[in-house]
């Protein structure tokens, strides 16, 4: 059974798109971050508002007029501004950042319309206005958890989905050592690179991109194992003794990329 739910959408141009739904964890993470930012913002606002109110009251007390209604108004206006900040935060970011808020950007998720289009002002506003209802007793969480499309009430009403952002295709460039470059130039002549399938190349590429984060013993072991297997696949007699396994894998990576540039 898949761990992440997929949805297939058909756009008005009848193009079929497939998305992975955001999942409850990413949405909770986004909410955690957004609410902390909002919390800091609102506390800041109220501190300023109280200072302002204090100043105003001292000023009014000097004027010798009846200002008994003013504190109530100040409170009301403060609450109204708080509500506008709370809703406006989500509406503003979701419209301007095409379905993302700072929290969603961090969690790498995005709101889209049911037909795959980016959300507009009306969808973002509906989602934001129904947010308090979803938050009461965590109703939204149960809707997301039990629903097939992970929609909270705001999503149902606004006709939106929350999806994972596709992983960016542009990976950071690899640093390939000098010796590996030299071997890469010779490899097509002395070996049979056509034996290497795209899947194998993908494994080499993954290893080379992720090796920096690995522990040293695990990295050495994995590198050696991959190098041995690749050597056998491409029919190379032996790895040139002046190269270590990492450099050999780099060379294969470069040579394969030059021979089949589409990968």
């Amino acid at each position: 059974m898949p761990l992440f739910k997929q949805v297939k959408l058909t756009t008005p141009e009848s193009v079929e798109l497939e998305f992975t739904l955001a999942g409850i964890g990413s949405r909770a993470l986004a909410l955690l971050i957004d609410y902390h930012l909002l919390g800091v913002g609102l506390v800041g606002f109220w501190i300023l508002w109280i200072i302002f109110a204090n100043r105003l009251m001292t000023y009014l007390s000097r004027l010798e007029i009846n200002y008994s209604q003013v504190p109530l108004w100040l409170l009301a206006i403060g609450l109204l501004i708080s509500f506008i900040v709370y809703s406006g935060y989500f509406v503003y970011f979701e419209v301007v950042w095409q379905g993302q808020t700072p929290g969603k950007r961090f969690a790498k998720i995005r709101v889209i319309q049911d037909d795959g289009k980016p959300v507009g002002l009306s969808q973002a506003a509906l989602r934001a206005l129904l947010r308090p209802i979803d938050d009461i007793l965590f109703i939204g969480v149960f809707f997301i958890f039990f629903g097939r499309q992970e929609k909270r009430i705001g999503d149902w009403v606004a006709g939106t989905l929350v999806i994972q952002e596709a992983r960016p295709q542009l990976k950071k460039t690899l640093s390939i050592s000098e010796t590996a470059q030299q071997l890469a130039a010779q490899l097509p002549e002395i070996t049979d690179l056509t034996q290497l399938l795209p899947d194998d190349f993908a494994v080499i590429s993954e290893y080379l991109h992720r090796r920096a984060a690995m522990t040293r013993p695990a990295r050495r072991e994995l590198s050696l194992k991959l190098a041995r297997e690749i050597r056998a696949i491409i029919n190379l007699e032996e790895i040139p003794p002046e190269l270590d396994s990492d450099q050999f894998l780099e060379a294969v990576y470069v040579a394969y990329q030059q021979q089949f540039p589409t990968y």
């Binding site: 964890g25 993470l29 958890f145 522990t215």
Partner: protein, 319 residues
Amino acid sequence: MTASSNLQGPLSVGNVVSAGLRLYSNHFKQYFGTALLATLWVILPIVVMAFIVGFFAVARNYYALLGLIIPAWIVLLLYCIGKYMAGSAAISRLAFGELTSEPEATRDAKRFTNSRLWSFVWMSLLLGLLYFSVVIAAYIGIAIVFVAIFAVLGVNPFSAPQPNVSDPGLLIGIGLLSILLILLVLGLLLWLAARFAVPEVALAVETEVGAIESLGRSWRLTQKNGWRIILILAVTFLITLPLVILIQLLTNLVQGGFATVTSDQTVDPAPFLLLISYAVSFLGNVFMLPLWQAIKAVIYYDLRSRREGFGLQLRDRQI
């Protein structure tokens, strides 16, 4: 998702939590049953203790037997803790098996973890000792800081007429400093919890790892990932909140209902209420346990994939 066959790569914080939750809901009966049996073991020493206390309260004799009963009870307690840990670790083992597309029967997973029961006990004792010493060291550190501050200010808390320390600025300063220190200690404990998040999964999965090595494994695997794991734990806590609140509401409801029913009778409702709230919180714990165990398994799987390139292998040429 067959994790080993595709190159999904490392998981994001949110996806670790989602995957753990999905594993639990896909195997609810299996994990919940295992958690229930594991947690029942914790009750056994409590029941035995109640019997012992009851016996001596009635008999008021044979006190010499205590020298025998107490050590025996401690051994029983440790054994039961081991059973509990082995049972809950079996859930992590099952979840890890799903992630690597090598699912296992519950019985086999339990047999494996039960065979290393005393390693689990030993590991948790060591870990407990570590946390204990950190907390003690933090206490001593904080005490030294405050003694130093009072010494600088010339305040002697043991001399009877206190010098005047009602300066509000000073009091606020000391208050803020205390809050800061407490946050620091909490942060340190949280960070330790992240670094030692997965020793039981290592014990439950890897064959040649013992109690001490499992702690080392967790420490090395979580290197450079401490804050990420803290975030995972925080998000997990957040999504368990609705359930915690639901359980709390349920307890209050039951207690309230019970109180109105028994209010006009002579029965003292207190013991029943206590029993009910214990039962509800027990069930709540059983319900939460598999979620945490599954998420730990996903954390462990993800760390192995990040730190050791786990799952990076070429396709099998023989087929």
